[in-house]
C-alpha cells in the first residue's frame, strides 16, 4: 500500500514537473516570438521611413535622439525655406492615406513671402474686386463645422475652380476664420481645417494644388464684431485673396 502511494506520488510529481516544463517552454517560446515580432515591426518602421525620399536612416536616428552624431541646422535669420522635397516624416496608418477617409492634399512646398519663393507674402495678394468678386466669393460655415452645406457655396467653389484652371498663373490664399464664441486656441486649428477643406475641394475639381495656399486666422480677424447670431455667421467664413503672376 505504502509503495503504491509512493509510486502514485512520484508519478504525480513527474507529471507536475513535465507540466511546469511545458508551461515554461510555451512562455519562453511566446516571449521569443514577441521579441522577434517587435524587432520585425521596428525594422518595418525604419524600412518605411527609409522610403520617404532622400532622408537617410542615420539622419532619422539623429532626429529622434538615438544617433551618436547630431546634425543641427541653425535657425534662419530670414524666413528662407530649405526647399526640401520631403519636409516632414508622415505617419503610415492606412486610414490616413485617403482611400478610407476624406481626400486631403499636402500644402504646396513654396511658402509665399519667404526668401526664395516666387510669390509675394500676403501683402501682395488682394481681395477680389469687380467681376472677380463674383468668381471668388466668401463662403460661410455652420457652427463648429468645417464642411460647406449650402449649394450656393459649393457653386461658388466650382466657379473659383474653373477660373483657377483657366488661369494657371493666378495664385490664391484661402483664409479660414471662426466666430468669436469658440475657444481661441482651438479656433486657430479649426480655421486651418476650414481653409484646407476649401483647398481640397478646389484640387478635387482639377485645380493645381500649388496655386492654392491657406492661412488660418481662427477668431483673430473678425469680419463682424457684433455679438449676435448674424455677426457670428459672417465670421465663420473662408475668404479668397489672389495674386496674378505676370
Amino acid at each position: 500500500m505504502g509503495t503504491t502511494l509512493t509510486n502514485t506520488y512520484l508519478k504525480k510529481q513527474k507529471e507536475e514537473c513535465m507540466r511546469k516544463s511545458l508551461v515554461w517552454t510555451v512562455i519562453l517560446s511566446c516571449s521569443s516570438l514577441l521579441v522577434l515580432d517587435s524587432c520585425k515591426k521596428n525594422d518595418d518602421a525604419w524600412s518605411d521611413s527609409n522610403n520617404l525620399g532622400s532622408y537617410k536612416r542615420a539622419k532619422e536616428r539623429v532626429l529622434w535622439g538615438t544617433g551618436a552624431s547630431e546634425e543641427t541646422v541653425a535657425f534662419h535669420e530670414s524666413t528662407e525655406s530649405s526647399g526640401f522635397d520631403n519636409d516632414f516624416i508622415p505617419l503610415q496608418d492606412e486610414d490616413l492615406k485617403g482611400q478610407f477617409s476624406e481626400v486631403v492634399f499636402a500644402q504646396p512646398k513654396d511658402s509665399p513671402g519667404e526668401e526664395g519663393s516666387f510669390l509675394p507674402g500676403i501683402e501682395g495678394f488682394h481681395l477680389p474686386i469687380g467681376a472677380l468678386a463674383q468668381v471668388f466669393q466668401t463662403v460661410y460655415f455652420n457652427t463648429d463645422e468645417y464642411t460647406l452645406k449650402k449649394q450656393e457655396h459649393l457653386q461658388a467653389i466650382a466657379r473659383a475652380a474653373e477660373y483657377l484652371k483657366a488661369h494657371p498663373k493666378t495664385y490664391v490664399f484661402v483664409t479660414g476664420n471662426c466666430d468669436q464664441r469658440g475657444p481661441e486656441a482651438y479656433n486657430l486649428a479649426l480655421g486651418a481645417r476650414r481653409a484646407n477643406y476649401v483647398r481640397n475641394l478646389l484640387i478635387e475639381k482639377g485645380v493645381n494644388g500649388d496655386q492654392i495656399h491657406t492661412i488660418s486666422y481662427g477668431k483673430e480677424k473678425l469680419a463682424d464684431l457684433s455679438n449676435s447670431p448674424e455677426g457670428w455667421a459672417k465670421n465663420r467664413r473662408a475668404e479668397f485673396k489672389f495674386y496674378e503672376k505676370r
Partner: protein, 443 residues
C-alpha cells in the same frame, strides 16, 4: 385578494427594510483656510523717498503676500505697528508671521518673525533706486526670499508673464497688429518684446538652460502671411524661423528639457500634431515628424508632461473637442490616445503642471468657459473658476499652484492670476485692448 395581500406585505417590507428615503444632497466644503495671516509693517525710516512712493512699494509687497497661496495680509493698525517696533510681546499681533520693514538712506531692510516656531530672521538690505519698475522687481525678489524662509519653497513673485497684446480690438486690415508683451506677475512693468508690426500670438517661454544667459521664447508670427513659429531672445525680440515645414504652423509647446518642440501644422492637408527636435540656442535637428493625425478631425494645443514622455492635446476625433494624452515617442504608427476629460465638455487649451500631477484646461460650463483642473492621481476633474467671462489659455507658474489665464467679455480680454488655494482670481492687466495667450516662467 391573495394578490392584494402580497402587495400589502411587499409595501410594508419596503417601508421597514427596503429602499432608503431620499437624502439631502450634502456638499463637503473645506472650511479650514489654507492661508496663514501675516502682518507686514509700514515701511518706516528716513525721508529717502516721498511717502507716496513708499505706499506704492507697500502695495507691491501686499500683492505678493495676498496672492501667494500661503498667506493673507492682516490689516495694519497703530497698535500693531508699535508692537512690531518694540518687538515686545509679538504674540499680541495674533498672527503666525510678521515682517517689519525699515528704510535708511535708500536701503530697505527687513526682519521676518515666525511666531509659531519662535525665530526672527533679518534679511540683507535691498538698495532701492527710486525707479518704480526696478524697485518693484527688487521687492518681488525679497518676497520670494521671505517665502522661502517661511515655507521652505520657492516663491513665484520674481517671475515673468508673456502674452499677446492686440492694441485695437476692431475689425479691419489696418488695426490687425499684435505684439508680445512681458510683465511682472502682478501685471506691472509691461514691456513690448517683439517689434514686428505684424500679428504675433501664442508666446511660449523656453525653460532656462543651465549656464545659458539668454532668455528665449517661441511665438507665432503672421509676418509673411501664413503663421510660422519663431524663436527670439527676450532682450532682442528678433525672431528666427524655427521649423522648416510647409503650411500653417501654430500653437507651439516645448518640453522641459528644451529638446522637443510640439506644434500643430497642416502640411499634410489636415491639422495634425507634429514634433521637432531642437536645441534652442543652436537650431533644429532633423526634420519634423507627424506625431498624431486622425481622419476628419482637428488637433490643437499640445502640452508636454514634465519628463517629456507624454503630450496632452485637444482633438475632436470622437465628436466634441476633448483632451487626450499620447506618448511623445515617435513611431510610424499613430500612438494610442487616452481620454483625460471625461466629464468636461468642449475642453480646450490644456497646460500640464510643472510637477506633473495636474492638468489645467478650459471647458464650457453652463454656457461659459471656465478653468478646470484634472488631478492625475485622483483621476478627478475639478472646476476652479466661476463667474462671467470666458476663461481660456491657462498656464501654470513654476510652483504648480498658480495659474494665469485670459478672460474675455465681448471685445476685451484681460489676464487673471489664480491659485488652487484661492479660487478668487485677481485681474492683473488693465487698459484697452486684447491681452491673451499668457505664458509664465522664471526670470
Amino acid at each position: 385578494m391573495k394578490r392584494l395581500t402580497t402587495l400589502l406585505f411587499l409595501f410594508i417590507g419596503i417601508l421597514l427594510f427596503g429602499v432608503d428615503a431620499p437624502q439631502e444632497i450634502r456638499v463637503q466644503l473645506d472650511t479650514v483656510s489654507p492661508l496663514s495671516p501675516i502682518y507686514l509693517s509700514q515701511i518706516n525710516g528716513d525721508a529717502s523717498f516721498p511717502a507716496q512712493y513708499l505706499k506704492e512699494l507697500e502695495k507691491v509687497l501686499t500683492f505678493d503676500f495676498n496672492h501667494n497661496g500661503k498667506t493673507k495680509v492682516a490689516g495694519k493698525t497703530k497698535e500693531k505697528e508699535l508692537l512690531l517696533l518694540s518687538t515686545n510681546n509679538l504674540k499680541a499681533l495674533e498672527v503666525p508671521f510678521a515682517v517689519s520693514f525699515s528704510l535708511k538712506e535708500k536701503n530697505l531692510s527687513c526682519k521676518v518673525y515666525n511666531l509659531i516656531e519662535g525665530y526672527a530672521k533679518p534679511f540683507s538690505e535691498v538698495a532701492l533706486t527710486g525707479a518704480l519698475g526696478q524697485d518693484r522687481q527688487k521687492l518681488h525678489k525679497l518676497s520670494d526670499a521671505i517665502h522661502k524662509v517661511l515655507f521652505q519653497e520657492e516663491g513665484i513673485a520674481y517671475s515673468r508673464i508673456l502674452y499677446s497684446y492686440q492694441n485695437k480690438a476692431s475689425a479691419g486690415e489696418d488695426s490687425w497688429s499684435s505684439e508680445i508683451i512681458e510683465c511682472d506677475w502682478d501685471g506691472e512693468n509691461p514691456k513690448t518684446i517683439t517689434r514686428e508690426k505684424s500679428y504675433c500670438v501664442t508666446p511660449v517661454l523656453i525653460p532656462k538652460g543651465e549656464g545659458l544667459a539668454k532668455d528665449l521664447f517661441l511665438y507665432v508670427s503672421y509676418k509673411t502671411g501664413q503663421p510660422k513659429i519663431f524663436i527670439a531672445s527676450i532682450d532682442e525680440g528678433k525672431g528666427k524661423k524655427v521649423v522648416d515645414i510647409r503650411g500653417n504652423q501654430i500653437l507651439p509647446a516645448i518640453s522641459k528639457k528644451r529638446d522637443k518642440l510640439a506644434f500643430v501644422c497642416d502640411a499634410g492637408g489636415r491639422t495634425d500634431l507634429f514634433i521637432q527636435s531642437i536645441r534652442p540656442e543652436i537650431g533644429r535637428t532633423g526634420i519634423p515628424k507627424q506625431l498624431f493625425s486622425y481622419p476628419r478631425s482637428t488637433q490643437a494645443s499640445p502640452t508636454f508632461s514634465p519628463d517629456g514622455s507624454k503630450v496632452a492635446f485637444v482633438s475632436d476625433k470622437d465628436g466634441a473637442a476633448r483632451i487626450y494624452w499620447i506618448s511623445s515617442e515617435v513611431s510610424n504608427k499613430r500612438p494610442t490616445a487616452h481620454l483625460i476629460t471625461k466629464k468636461s465638455k468642449e475642453s480646450s487649451c490644456p497646460s500640464w503642471s510643472p510637477d506633473g500631477t495636474k492638468l489645467a484646461y478650459s471647458a464650457k460650463t453652463e454656457g461659459i468657459r471656465q478653468i478646470w483642473v484634472y488631478d492625475f492621481a485622483a483621476e478627478e476633474e475639478r472646476q476652479l473658476t466661476s463667474g462671467t467671462g470666458n476663461k481660456e489659455n491657462p498656464c501654470w507658474a513654476g510652483n504648480s499652484l498658480h495659474l494665469v489665464f485670459n478672460s474675455s467679455d465681448n471685445d476685451s480680454s484681460d489676464l487673471y492670476v489664480v491659485n488652487l488655494n484661492q479660487p478668487d482670481a485677481v485681474k492683473i492687466t488693465k487698459g484697452q485692448g486684447k491681452k491673451h495667450y499668457p505664458t509664465w516662467g522664471p526670470r
